[in-house]
């Protein structure tokens, strides 16, 4: 593979791949390593891929496999189950999401447990359809759809919880009266 072709692929996909890796590993250093490793595998094997339209799915599939391989080898990236409080939380609104910081939303996403995290990350960070998600995660399309629906519930519950916590920390200033 020529350097030019390699650089084009890197330019097109390194950002969404990094964000996907960050959501899985929850560590910037590990996310960078996973992203680099994925491109090096692409450099050595990606030339065998005949269909350019499949490059994106190939890269995300490879990164996910590398992540799972690292988890198996090192027992790292252990996900901690969070207490489930979804049903008691108020619904969130689009404006509220827009007012939040990107980092807060990413933190909420990363707090979603598996098996819902990877489909959600592929949906929001990778821009994949549920069919592509099913292929990348090697699950039936119905399963991908179901995990997306449940994952979205969990993500919104965490966003709602985060918003409540933030609001609780804000103490209104005393009003100043004119005159």
């Amino acid at each position: 593979m020529h350097d030019l072709e390699f650089e084009q692929v890197v330019s097109a996909y390194y950002e969404p791949l990094y964000r996907f890796a960050l959501s899985l590993s929850r560590s910037e250093a590990d996310a960078s390593d996973l992203t680099q490793q994925t491109f090096y595998i692409w450099a050595s094997k990606g030339g065998q891929l005949r269909d350019a339209a499949k490059v994106k799915t190939w890269l995300f599939t490879t990164l996910h496999r590398e992540f799972l391989g690292t988890v198996r080898r090192q027992g790292r990236f252990a996900h901690h189950e969070l207490s489930s409080v979804e049903s008691e939380l108020p619904a969130i609104e689009p404006d509220a999401v827009s007012r939040m910081e990107s980092a807060e939303i990413m933190a909420a996403l990363m707090s979603v447990e598996e098996p819902y995290l990877a489909p959600l990350a592929l949906f929001y960070l990778g821009g994949h359809s549920y069919h592509e998600i099913a292929k990348i995660l090697n699950v039936p399309p119905g399963t991908a759809m179901s995990r997306l629906a449940r994952g979205k519930d969990r993500l919104r519950a965490r966003l709602s919880l985060q918003m409540q916590e933030t609001e609780g920390k804000i103490v209104p200033l005393p009003r100043q009266h004119a005159g």
Partner: protein, 272 residues
């Protein structure tokens, strides 16, 4: 389909892209168009998704990540050809071609052909001239150090630094200890590789000596003098022209060196 079923399906839908043509969503969308409550829910759902997409696409990526990926790729060792998987038709074609070559060579050349120095010189000149001398894509003929020409994949390690090349050759049973021509060291190396010449180990180092690629490349080839029955004895280069290529050959201790380049002897003499 009731509203709960429609909501379940529509939550997996991405606006635009392949989902726009997916039949699985058509019925749920039609249901949403008929039911105002579901339509309101879906509009709200889509707005939250749009806000999430926008926010998450702003999550910062390390500023040096792209650079690190591109630089790192230059120092990874490509898979040797014998470890790369090939498709069945390619493998069959390769086997057939190999058998034909064996038959052809068997008919054309006597088995007892001497593996002497002149054979080595001619073989390597032909090999380098034919494998590395042709341009794959004129668009890539720039001063870019990463450009390797048609035979780029034959180079197992790439670096512009001669020290890196020496280290890699030494670590890979090559001829890293061989002294390179004095003036050649002023030019950036493009990479190196290990060849098998009739069962003998040969090191090959490619140098870029100008910007008119692939002509402005020269190749240093090194073999153990013990692997040749009649190695040259002199340390001064002797020039031989073969077609459009010239080789300079000399002895460097336990090594026999060939410098190969496009053009006549004057082209190569400037590196000594």
């Amino acid at each position: 389909m009731n509203n709960d079923e429609a909501k379940f399906i529509l939550r997996a839908r991405r606006p635009g892209g392949p989902d726009a043509r997916d039949a699985a969503f058509a019925e749920a969308l039609a249901h949403a168009r008929r039911d105002p409550e579901l339509a309101t829910w879906f509009a709200e759902e889509s707005a939250i998704d749009a806000a999430l997409f926008a926010q998450l696409s702003a999550v910062p990526v390390p500023s040096d990540l792209k650079h690190a990926i591109l630089i790192g790729r230059k120092v990874i060792k490509p898979q040797p050809w014998w470890r790369q998987s090939v498709s069945l038709p390619t493998a069959v074609a390769a086997v057939v071609a190999t058998l034909l070559c064996i038959a052809f060579v068997g008919l054309r050349e006597p088995r007892e052909a001497a593996l002497d120095f002149s054979r080595f010189n001619a073989d390597l000149t032909d090999y380098v001239g034919s494998r590395y001398g042709l341009l794959f894509s004129p668009k890539l003929a720039t001063a870019n150090m990463g450009y390797l020409g048609a035979g780029g994949s034959e180079l197992h390690y790439r670096s512009a630094r001669v020290e890196d090349i020496r280290r890699w050759l030494t670590e890979n049973s090559g001829h890293g200890a061989c002294e390179f021509p004095a003036r050649l060291k002023d030019h950036p190396s493009m990479g190196c590789g290990m060849l098998d010449w009739r069962g003998k180990r040969v090191s090959l180092v490619c140098f870029q000596v100008g910007t008119d690629l692939p002509k402005d490349k020269v190749y240093l080839v090194v073999i153990d003098s013990a692997d040749l029955p009649d190695p040259p004895k002199g340390a001064s280069p002797q020039f031989t022209t073969r077609g459009e290529w010239t080789s300079a050959t000399w002895r460097n201790g336990d090594f026999v060196c060939l410098l190969l380049g496009y053009g006549n002897g004057e082209t190569l003499a400037r590196y000594f």
